[in-house]
């Protein structure tokens, strides 16, 4: 699980152009959107692409993703249960 979280953080930093932050600085339980990392709706769409590309998970409705994308913890949990690769 820790490996998955680390991998996720690195994927987010790269895909979302979070140049001014390192994987170590992203706290597992902190919110990714809004006040936390300050991600927005376009980032959410990019995370959906990461899920498809890296884990074979297809989310069709962005609005379903709100709870799943809350934090690194919730995201890793969801991937752990649903990954196809």
């Amino acid at each position: 699980m820790d490996q998955l979280k680390k991998e996720l953080k690195e994927a987010l930093i790269q895909a979302l152009n979070l140049e001014d932050i390192t994987a170590e600085e992203i706290v597992d339980e902190d919110p990714l959107f809004g006040d936390g990392l300050g991600l927005d709706s376009i980032d959410a769409l990019e995370i959906i692409l990461i899920l498809e590309r890296n884990y074979g998970i297809r989310l069709t409705k962005p609005e379903e993703s709100k709870e799943i994308f809350y934090s690194i913890n919730t995201l890793a949990d969801f991937i752990g249960k649903n990954r196809k690769k």
Binding site: L16, N17, D40, S41, I42, L45, E46
Partner: protein
Amino acid sequence: MEYPVIYLTADAMISSLGFSTGECREEMLRYQSGLHPICDSQFYSELFYGAKIDNDRLRLLVGEHNLHDFSRLEQLLILSIRQTLVQSGIDVHQSDCGLILASTKGNVSRLSAENETGDELFLSHSAERVASYFGFTTRPIVICNACISGVSAMIVAKRLIENGRFKHIVVAGGDELSNFIVTGFHAFKSVSADRCKPYDADRDGLSLGEACGSILLTTEKRWVTGKEPIVLLGGAITNDANHISGPSRTGEELHLAIEQALAQAGISGNDGLFVNAHGTATIYNDEMESKALHLSRLSEKPVQSLKPYFGHTLGAAGVIETIICKQQLENDILFGVLGFQTIGVPYPLHIDASHRPVELTYCLKTASGFGGCNAAIVIGKRGFSSRLSDQFSPLATKNGSLPSPERATIVSRCTINASGVELNGERQLVNELTDDFPTFIRKAYHSLNLNYRKFYKMDDLSKLGFITTSFLTRSIERFSELPPESKGIVMANCSSSLDTDIHYRRNLDAVGDREASPALFVYTLPNVMLGEICIYWKMKGENTFFIQRECDKEFLLKYAEIAMKEQNLGYCIVGWCDLLGDNFLSDFYLMER
């Protein structure tokens, strides 16, 4: 100052419903939609609903008029403008006759790994070819303002005519369906699974279409073709200053544009008005519009979206939809919103699925687009306006509400090029010869001690515009805290968003169209840079993006001055911001009045 009456006269549109305005109107009367399932890998790997122009018919016309040397979009533009000119009989060789072209993506369908630098990828090139085909003697003006481009072009035309630059202007708008566009909107998950259903509880996104339209605006009544002269009465542009792709949460900014346009027109919402809104049928656009119309107290007025007939035709939308509004005014018929069943927006709107005869006097046409921009224009029956001249004359009101014509002054200037940053003639930062643009612009960012994570997400063009504005506005204390509606921006460049278009195209070729990047696609419009600037510095006034072969500084400063007067702006950022590959140049002025 007395403003001339601007007549909307001859027009022609080519769309999925036909090759003339009359043909399209007849199809609409029969409740026909140009939107059909498309299964063609040229556009997308999966089935989608789109509105295509009949290529077989186009080919015949291209042969007939010998247009083989032009791109498909240029052919469409020429065929449309040709009809408009023939209908009106106007001579375009005169020096007071202009051409304005609105397009979001021009010939982007020609962009490929083998062709990243061809002349046809530049909008000015297309505009000049079209203009010289007809023999216009003035240089064409190009607007690239996302989905408000068509309405923007009408506003630019209005201002240039009112300020004496032209007596006649042909406004043309065109955009094609392409793999580039179709994949991009799919990446945004904003494409409907079925034909789009604006304002409906069941709506799930937009449908894309292609079209081309042209309309002649003139001060001379003798070019009026219809039985009832229709005139352009008002227009305004605002920015949400909220998000580069998501619409405003409150609708206040579209409301502001509507208020300004209605005030200029000298009418209130009480007159015989109908609203032709943008109505893309995405969840958030339609929600935002319902809020804006509610704020403008127009919820009781008939509201329509024409997207179920033509799809969202991007840069053409504002032009072809204005043409259909003019048709509705001329014929006193209100078109229904095809397929509408149940209202599904936060504030109820007066929407009908069926056409009905209604006595109409005015039409409010709105549009909103990426970059957070909103535009509104008012057109109406000339006869009706003059009957009201004692109380409601547009001219009288306009003169009354216009601020005194004092000139705006330039308070600062910032230039960024390969040698570094210069502010008011003083070097602020030297660019090391060994630094590429990404390295240089990050150094500039760090030198400003800014803490804005979104900077790193911007494309290079937006980074350049953002950093230039940071230097430019330093002399104005708390620039971002000044009233948002008092600050506007007028910008131009040559390459539009071609630099990012190339990145998006390469990405698409590498990962396939189902994995296209929305974060890249959103920057494939140059005015998104204006959106970034408006968000950070909280600017909600005028927003216009021109494409020019070379920087026409005199035109831009003059245009900004007109916009500042008309929208009562205290500040306007105006200038040039171009970037393509290793070449970049920004030259911004801050104007104050």
